[in-house]
């Protein structure tokens, strides 16, 4: 049996040093709601666990000077929920994060873990993609930024380089009349994995959509940024014709699997339906801002 070591460093440099030195045997521990299950089932047998929750930057929620947010990769869903202003500015990101598992899971699970777990069905990811979030990653070669949609590489895989750790999400400042929303389709009301998930973020000016981003989950090997759907919404008054065009773009982007949760035909159709519903919620919220 391999000796398992547990480290809880208080600095990022220390964490990266240990994580990079241990190579593929090392795992990062944030909330642990995926890692502990994988260890228990024997799917993962780490030689080193690096707990990042003692690193201040990893657990901090910060409103930046320009009105954006910087959210540490290990911030729990419950901590984000309890933040006084985050949910007012990014209600879609918050509702997506708060759909991950039970209240018990939300007490631990983080958006950073959700992203790095690499599941195509991770609920927070389409909402972060729609939000235009940028992630900061740091490794032995230093710090760099990536668009959130560039992180997933396929089921269970990311484009982080060996030794790199996800540090934080940066959400941009919000213009007036902007908001976002996230909806997922599951066969029950709680505690399930998305069959389809759609995140929409948009800005309105005098009833016209001036900016939009659409993130689509659980219908391809990675979460998708659907630029054609956003293009169909931008410049429109979100009328039926624009919504139909954006819905078709979402359906066209789908490359889903066929499984017990949903067939290819079902997921493809639902992607379009959810786009319309999610856009309606985001638009309603935006017009109140």
């Amino acid at each position: 049996m391999t000796e398992l070591r547990y480290l809880a460093p208080s600095t990022l440099d220390e964490a990266i040093g240990a994580f990079a030195a241990a190579g593929s045997a090392a795992r990062i521990l944030a909330g642990g709601t995926d890692l502990l299950v994988q260890m228990r089932s024997g799917a993962v047998k780490p030689g080193l666990i690096v707990d990042i929750k003692k690193i201040d930057e990893m657990t901090r929620i910060e409103q930046t000077a320009d009105g954006g947010f910087r959210i540490g990769a290990a911030v729990s869903g419950m901590a984000l929920h309890d933040h006084k202003s985050f949910g007012k500015i990014w209600p879609g990101v918050l509702e997506a994060v708060n759909l991950i598992g039970s209240k018990q899971v939300q007490g631990r699970a983080s958006a950073g873990g959700n992203l790095c777990n690499g599941s195509p069905a991770g609920d927070s990811v389409p909402a972060m993609v729609a939000a235009g979030a940028i992630v900061t990653v740091q490794g032995p070669q230093g710090r760099r930024e990536m668009k959130v949609e560039e992180v997933p590489a396929g089921p269970g895989r990311t484009n982080l380089k060996p030794g790199e750790i996800l540090v934080s999400f940066i959400l941009p400042p919000r213009p007036a009349c902007s908001s976002d929303a996230y909806l997922r389709m599951i066969p029950r009301t709680e505690m399930d994995i998305a069959v389809v998930g759609v995140g929409v973020s948009l800005t309105l000016k005098d009833g016209v959509c001036t900016a939009a981003r659409v993130g689509l989950g659980a219908v391809a090997p990675t979460v998708l940024l659907v630029e054609d759907a956003a293009k169909a919404l931008i410049g429109s008054r979100l009328d039926d014709a624009a919504l139909a065009k954006a819905a078709s773009a979402c359906s066209a982007a789908c490359r889903p699997i066929d499984d017990k949760r949903g067939t290819i035909a079902y997921r493809t159709k639902v992607a379009g339906v959810l786009l319309k519903r999610t856009t309606a919620i985001a638009a309603k919220r935006a017009s109140g801002n």
Binding site: E3, Y6, T33, V37, I49, S102
Partner: protein, 160 residues
Amino acid sequence: MAKVHVTTTINGEPMEYLCEPNDTMLDALRGPLGLTGSKEGCASGDCGACSITLDDSLVCSCLMLAVEAEGRELRTIEGMAQGDKLHPLQQKFLEMAALQCGICTSGMLIASDALLRKNPRPSEEEVRFWLAGNLCRCTGYDKIVRAVMETAAEMREAAQ
């Protein structure tokens, strides 16, 4: 494997134990600490029978490493009653028969208590969503939800 020495606070009492780096908090509670009120149902964070609070945050102790408790404050079902005096939720669960086999009960109580500390006036919908991570195979949930609602109402009255 080298055992790790952990110093923590459980139900207000300083505690220490030795654990393996891959032991879960539930392993430590039910093993060296002898606190067997937290139950193992699924061991994968789905059933909530092992619910505890970690620095006032509701968590599944099966999804937490025992080494992570170092310097933290935990509360388990064993700390809920004050001596012989049951917590109002415990009393109400008994009165309203909100349990049958009892396996889920400690988790239900810890989760309900965490809800009422955060929100003393939950709606039925809020109670049902909050307890969605606590599975019960006996009661059909109705008695549990009603017991939590009733306790919340009585605790609000008592607080006035």
